[in-house]
Amino acid sequence: MANSLVVRFSGEQGQGVQSVAAITAQYFAGRGYGVLAVNDYASRIAGGYSYSQIRVSTGPARSVTKGADIAFAISPAGIASDLDTLQKGTALFAEAAKVKAEHRPAVINVPLSELLDAQERRGINTFYVGMLLALTNQPLDPLVEMLEKRFGKKGGDVVAANVVIARKGYDFAKPMTDLHQDLDVPREVLPTVVKTGSQAIALGAIAAGVTFHAGYPMAPSTAVMNTLAGLSKRYGIVVEQAEDEIAAINLAIGASSAGARAMTATSGGGLALMSEAISLAGVAETPLVIVNVQRPGPATGLPTKTAQGDLHMVQYIGHGEFTRAILTPGNAAEAFVAGQKAFYLAEKYQIPVFILSDQHLGDSLWSSDPWKVHPEYQERFLKLESTSAEPAVYPRYSLQEGCISPRAIPGFTNDLTLTDSHTHDEFGHITEDPVLSAAMVHKLIDKRGLVASDMSLPERFAVEDSTTVLVSFGSCRGVVRDACEALRATGLSVGHVHFSEVYPLPEVAVREALGEARLITIECNATGQFARLLRGEYGVKADEHVLKYNGRPFYVDELTAELRGRLTP
């Protein structure tokens, strides 16, 4: 009996690896397990080698291992790649007859050609799910229900055929008792949400009232736009595929300046193209939410892989100086909150707000406790009363009330609104006056302190009693926590501080949160950007750095081993 397992499905792009992983995740989440499905796929439409790694756990599922406990190869062509990453002892199922002779000893034969007829062989994935349930001692009925929901529209025949296939798989594996890896039963079955990080951000935006999204397709960010587009009619959102990223962000800035809650989403290179416009949002004080789903760079890099390599870019993107906020959610639940809070911060402070996601967070399916809507994040902070009886230009950039000026919307009141990209006077008109220019610079940068007071401080786990503290941000949250717990379980004195919001934070509070212990930062990039942020912005110098930069997320076994090496002399 185990309280946690990692399952792999591998195959070619187009063979449904990701959808079988989704079904599996949904199934186990429905049974009360924590699930996390991590997708590693090639940048191509068909062929190649992709796989999904699914953690199923009686507790929260926060990370996956490099290898797996049970693996199913949909395409026998990928066995060599599977064997590259799987540890010895994995139960690797494949159709042996189709596997290269040299690899045959490594696989457990599933004679699919014999077990399924030609028609049924299109349902290999379902067959494997059936097998998995038998291997882990799970009931088949809930899967049947899922198949009914999924294929119901296609008619009873299709459902029945799929159920037959699933049952065949189940029956095939049931007798293989020496291969069974029974899972503990979770203590209670709670309602749960299973979504990818990108879906969560989009849904959060909807819950915050987004009405306008403009974007340009780019892996791995496109899922954000797709999710919004799919729900656009129901929620009254205009989702526009722009001609390029520069158009996308200027569309969003235009829409926001006119009063819509507007956003854009992109990945590294697309964000780089948006640099100038982000500076416009800064000086024009136009609220804007920008999602960057990071992939490894530089330039085209690894389009479908993961990295945390754009932190510095987001910190300093755009010319000149202005205030921004950076949210770095660590899982889907946090991403849903970030999707809401980003709009709140953007509108309250009239600034650009970044949600810094990555392919690992964005493409993985995460189960979470039920989500909550934050109605307080829906506040608009608008000036909806006319200042004067007749239409007249009003001081959009008034310096009267500190650095946040009342924001009117063109056409909605008599206040004519001039949104401007230059250094301007209070009315938005170009000025070159030295005193006024300096005052306007202040207006922009003094927001920093205000925003900082609205940001969440890092989460601290077992910090007080630990001599070493692991420090992470963004999508490393789960894997670092799991590694920390594993290390503690073997008696090591180690805690964890995680930042789901990184900038701007109050300097003193950050220092206090990190304490006096030896600090090890853990990031998915090559130059330790988060460590440099901590040092440059908050004056905290980390002692050591664990960095990974091959396009893959940290695996918990690998990270734990690395840290154990550093913690035991």
């Binding site: 819950a207 569309l251 006119a258 949104t419």
Partner: protein
């Protein structure tokens, strides 16, 4: 227009008749309140228009990006009349891509393209509409690229309203502006403009002598005729092409209802009870 003290255009600049005519069209011919429209510019001399109008809603954005910003504004609040005034450098060099795509998207904005063949604000470099042979501080030997013509490009990109005029004929310009703003959908008015500081050749006199109205017989709804006129080396003025179409905001599933996104946003409510439906 604001008083001259706050306007930084050179004396005699071709932008003066344009802004004056635009103000007359909006206030007198169309009797619009400044609440009802917004003036959008990129960066350049022409693009300073929102700053120099007596009083208007305005958006003074980035060089080259007037059209995407204007499009965003119109989609957020399609009850606003959205007018873009910007230069040939802004719209056809830095913003050339947006020009093509704004035309094909057919969002109901009105584009007034100030065509003075130079970059005025940055001191007289050649714009994409410069003639071959124009010499500048960068092009000592003279411009060699083929000039772009906004009319030709707009027709190629699927424009449904496209007119050409010149500030050398204020009456005609006024008429074109009225027609363009009255048209339902994206409209282009290419305004041939003088720049006494950097374009000494094409002064008022030159435009008067080298342009002529489209013949009475010109059929505005005939695309082939429009193309022929656009590619005619003789510079014609008038409405080259005008056919009805359904602008984006009237065909979009979300905007069709008539409610603006801004209004929707103001009315927005979402609670935990709405969540199951979202998930």
């Amino acid at each position: 227009m604001k008083d001259l003290g706050s306007v930084t255009w050179c004396p005699g600049c071709g932008n003066f008749p344009i802004i004056k005519t635009a103000e007359a069209v909006l206030a007198e011919d169309l009797a619009l309140s400044p609440r009802d429209y917004i003036v959008v510019g990129g960066i350049g001399q022409a693009a300073k228009l929102p700053h120099y109008m007596t009083a208007c809603n305005g958006f003074s954005g980035l060089h080259g990006r007037a059209l995407p910003s204007a499009t965003g504004i119109k989609l957020a609040n399609h009850k606003l009349e959205v007018l873009v005034f910007s230069g040939d450098g802004d719209l056809l060099a830095e913003g050339g891509n947006h020009f093509l795509h704004a035309v094909r998207r057919n969002v109901g904005i009105n584009l007034f393209l100030h065509d003075n063949q130079v970059y005025g604000l940055t001191k007289g470099q050649a714009s994409p509409t410069a003639w071959q042979g124009m010499t500048t501080t960068i092009n000592y030997g003279g411009v060699t690229s083929t000039p772009l013509d906004a009319m030709q490009l707009a027709l190629a990109a699927g424009a449904k309203f496209a007119a050409r005029t010149t500030m050398a004929d204020m009456g005609h310009m006024r008429e074109m502006m009225v027609e363009a703003i009255s048209y339902d959908g994206f409209s282009l008015v290419q305004i041939l403009q003088t720049c006494p500081s950097f374009n000494k050749l094409r002064n008022i006199k030159w435009y008067r002598e080298n342009t002529s109205l489209l013949p009475e017989s010109h059929d505005e709804t005939d695309r082939d005729a429009a193309l022929r006129a656009a590619f005619d080396p003789a510079i014609k003025l008038g409405i080259f092409y005008r056919v009805p179409g359904v602008p984006y905001e009237k065909s979009h599933p979300v905007l069709q209802s008539g409610e603006t996104l801004v209004q929707r946003g103001l009315d927005f409510k979402f609670t935990n009870e709405d969540l199951p439906d979202l998930l």
